[in-house]
Symmetry: C2
Amino acid sequence: MSTEPAPFLEALARDGARVEAMLERLLADRALPGEAVRPTRLVAAMRHATLGGGKRLRPFLLIEAARLFGRDDEGVLRAAAALEMVHCYSLVHDDLPQMDDDDLRRGMPTVHRAFDEATAILAGDALLTLAFDTTADPATHADASVRIDLVLRLARASGLGGMVGGQMLDLTAEGRWSVDGRPSVLGDAEIRRLQAMKTGALLRFPLEAGAIMAGASPQDVARLGRFGAIVGLAFQIADDLLDVEATPEAMGKATGKDAARGKGTLVSLHGVAAMKAELARSIVAAEAELSPFGERAARLVEAARFVAERRN
Amino acid sequence: MSTEPAPFLEALARDGARVEAMLERLLADRALPGEAVRPTRLVAAMRHATLGGGKRLRPFLLIEAARLFGRDDEGVLRAAAALEMVHCYSLVHDDLPQMDDDDLRRGMPTVHRAFDEATAILAGDALLTLAFDTTADPATHADASVRIDLVLRLARASGLGGMVGGQMLDLTAEGRWSVDGRPSVLGDAEIRRLQAMKTGALLRFPLEAGAIMAGASPQDVARLGRFGAIVGLAFQIADDLLDVEATPEAMGKATGKDAARGKGTLVSLHGVAAMKAELARSIVAAEAELSPFGERAARLVEAARFVAERRN
């Protein structure tokens, strides 16, 4: 029997290694031109937060979206690495004791455990800023109007109307600031909106960004965006199912936390069976969205399937 | 006797009011187009952090630099407000118990005291992100290459090689992570480098940014940048002198903190008299830098003087 990994997992690992190499370059422990000095401890914390772990799913989606329209160069890798920095900064801040209070991430101590809280706060700030720096740099794309479009979309996906706003809604729903300290009872639409902001926006962004970098038409960018929205929803449903069904060992982090916090998810609202059915339907919808591209989009369709069926 | 404020203070207050109005618009408690919802508590914390206080010195420098080259429009105000968001986010994070642990800012409770630490962390994150959003928005400048230049410079001034890196060097110098917990003994060059990163970069940025927005030549942008570097140094020397000489009442925040922490400043290294003399020389140098513009640059020269001579 063959023990070869499936071609999709091979591709994911291959692009992941390229993203890792780019992150390594961007976070090298030496000052870049224009910098007087890189504070050693801060750089070490930023490296701890970003290097040596993670599926690099968001960068993969960006790289594959650009490839679909014929672009695959160093600039794409830079944009992908910048996006991963935003994702990693959000994990560093979310893991803080004041927020989700997590000690483990990818089976390793979180940044504030490996370093300290002040360093974790600043490392997150510096990663977010470096993400915009990297995206805005001419080395990422020759066309200034493309770069500014990416910056604007990245800011919207990760800010008040996106990821950070979604995290705030999530903490609010947990009952953190309610008079009686009890979680809110959220309805279907509220949960979907919260999740679209908290995790969806940053999964949709790479699909649009890759298409934009490769010069896709506005119609195709919009199509990739719709595909990204479906992937984002599928990701979140799968995540909520894993929180119910997976072990901490498989996840490399604590599970069962949603229920422990009384946190409303689509799974707690509609049940495991109903959400597994919606997850299956979402794969069909994702595939339909990319059908105009035929076989060329096979890898992105596989990515959607991977997101829905992942076990950690 | 007249009690009219000096024309410079009038101009500072007038531009400050315009920046306040722009911040109010950008932080209105209603979702902007493209946002599903603005989390109420998060927006309230962002407003607490930015509205109703501060001299708005950085925005003023940006507005006056653009005016020097004939531009004074809403886009300039947007860029100025975005810069102020970066400044305010840095104060919110620096005030946290894990960092400088301050309860008062501009005579008001700091964000984590008025709200809580999780909200303060997220409000800072959202302000930084909204600053890039605002700068990258076409409403700020019609030319994409100008906007991307601003984004790149803003990221460099505020990130690892600028403000955040400088704050990290500052905490390190306080001895926070030294084996014996004692502050480092920094030399003249190290203190200047640290301060150029921590406070200088974000005072230099507005002078370059204003000139760039108004279409100034690269030579003039560089000249304004040199002027900005002098203003940054003057600001820091004045700040260190105030920490020694001013009262908490005049400052609206604690004073005497540098000495209490054993923190090396140019004032502790060279003495009050020597640094007052350098401050006076810096005003002369600043004035000389802008002499090619004659009377048109009078307001910026007054700004440099104001920075050096301020009492709070």
